[in-house]
């Protein structure tokens, strides 16, 4: 069977791990800077006073002036989510993460180990831990499993057998479908309020009226495709971080620091020459929040210049001064043949010689002997804040 484990409002729960008291008051995840001013997930206390996820910030504050806005912590959420996935993998589940808070997996391989589907789901819920209020669902198809998890109570597992699928889906609301806000209103205007009423419509008519998106929703309302779930390939465990003695907002400093991190990541022996397929750039910003961007490379590469041009522009998107910058190798590709260049790019030879020279200095003077001086605020009246020494140990 295909199972789905769901942790509603995962980003908010992750952000509240260090501030559990806020979980019992009306609170919501604040919109990310520069994005549309819509609330993220909300606490139960906020729901009780009429605040819902996706509400406009102004409207929410007018409804509940005491509403606590929690700064998003995407890097923290990613870390917590990775922890959840690893605990599931440790319990023997080959997980296919959909998004933070939603993961699918097959139970077939572990049913005999744990003594059936229900016991396997119980094991999955236990391995995630009750603090996250996880819920699980299982069915013959992925969407059915997701729908089952959506109706389960915290800590509960709902199993839908193949012959019960249609009867189970029929009364469920349309909000389970991945549709735009406008589409729900359009369907409700047509008197379609449940998955059953959508599934009962002729597919051709739905496609004609609502387009490809509507056709997909119609297909899901009938249970969706029967596809196997493929477990993710093991995550790479490579990351480099650099902390600053005081918050840095200067782009040049961040670029230099990023260059140092990239050099260190490229030099990690665990990489064993494999090129990067997916990398993440994360920052802990002043005031306790965090920022994170993931970049998937079209062609896996370990070329410094290409990695730099793919990732460095993201530094300008960091919304606040940075306290710690972090570079993670999310996924490594297997060895691939590299087309050698007939003429090496300009400056490459100098770069190789310089790195070799620095390697010799480090070998004779020890670790930490090589650093790059980066001007942070040359105009500052406080001499020690004008420049930083960024370690260059590779």
């Amino acid at each position: 069977m295909i199972a789905c484990l769901l942790i509603p409002g995962f980003e908010l729960r992750a952000a509240l791990r260090s501030r559990p008291r806020i979980a019992v008051v009306p609170a919501a995840l604040a919109p990310e800077p520069g994005r549309e001013q819509l609330l993220g997930p909300v606490t139960a206390a906020a729901e009780a006073v009429g605040i819902v996820a996706g509400m406009r910030l102004g409207e929410a504050l007018a409804t509940c002036p005491q509403l606590v806005l929690v700064d998003p912590d995407p890097a923290g959420a990613e870390r917590e989510w990775e922890g959840v996935l690893r605990r599931l993998e440790d319990a023997g589940f080959a997980v296919d993460p959909v998004e933070p808070g939603v993961v699918a997996f097959e139970t077939t391989g572990v049913e005999r180990l744990y003594g059936g589907v229900e016991s396997a789901l119980r094991k999955a819920l236990d391995s995630v831990g009750p603090a996250w209020d996880p819920r699980a669902g299982a069915g013959q198809r992925r969407f059915v499993a997701l729908a089952a998890a959506s109706v389960a109570r915290p800590g509960q597992a709902v199993i839908v057998e193949g012959k019960e699928e249609q009867a189970f889906l029929e009364p469920l609301p349309l909000s389970l479908l991945p549709l735009d806000e406008g589409r729900y209103a359009e369907l409700e205007g047509l008197g379609v309020r449940t998955l059953g009423s959508l599934a009962a419509l002729p597919g051709g008519a739905v496609a004609e009226r609502l387009g490809q998106e509507g056709k997909q929703a119609w297909s899901l309302a009938r249970g969706g495709e029967r596809r196997r779930v493929r477990g993710r390939s093991p995550a790479a465990e490579l990351a480099e971080a650099l902390s600053f003695p005081e918050a840095v907002a200067n782009e040049l400093t961040l670029r230099r620091a990023f260059g140092a991190l990239l050099d260190r990541l490229l030099a990690r022996p665990e990489r064993a020459g494999r090129p990067f397929r997916k990398l993440a750039l994360a920052a802990r910003v002043v005031g306790g929040g965090s920022w994170r961007r993931t970049v998937t490379l079209r062609d896996a590469t370990a070329e410094r210049g290409r990695l730099r041009s793919a990732l460095a522009p993201k530094l300008t998107e960091i919304p606040a001064p940075v306290v710690e910058l972090r570079l993670e190798a999310v996924e490594l590709a297997e060895h691939t043949g590299q087309q050698l260049a007939l003429v090496p790019p300009e400056g490459e030879e100098t770069g190789v010689r310089l790195r070799e020279g620095l390697r010799q200095v480090r070998a004779s003077a020890g670790g930490g002997a090589v650093g790059a001086v980066v001007e942070v605020a040359p105009w500052s009246r406080i001499p020690e804040t004008r420049a930083l020494v960024v370690p260059r140990d590779v």
Partner: protein
Amino acid sequence: MAAVGQVAGRLNAPRPALVETGPGGTPRVVNRERVMLVREEWRVVDRWWTEEPIDRRYFEVVLESGRNVCVYRDGERRCWFTQRA
């Protein structure tokens, strides 16, 4: 995720200094060397809106040996430091 963390260091961080003062709080002896001349004096008051306010009185002095040294008295911590200004 196994992360290797490093800390970027400060350049030109202040170092504690042994200073004896004369009238008006000007340095007379710096690190056991007599001050021959006070070339310049200035104040830096900054970050008073943070939890780490800065209140420094800098002196650029010439010592007996002929060395030029910059020292300051930290008004918050009430002690002396040397630093290249």
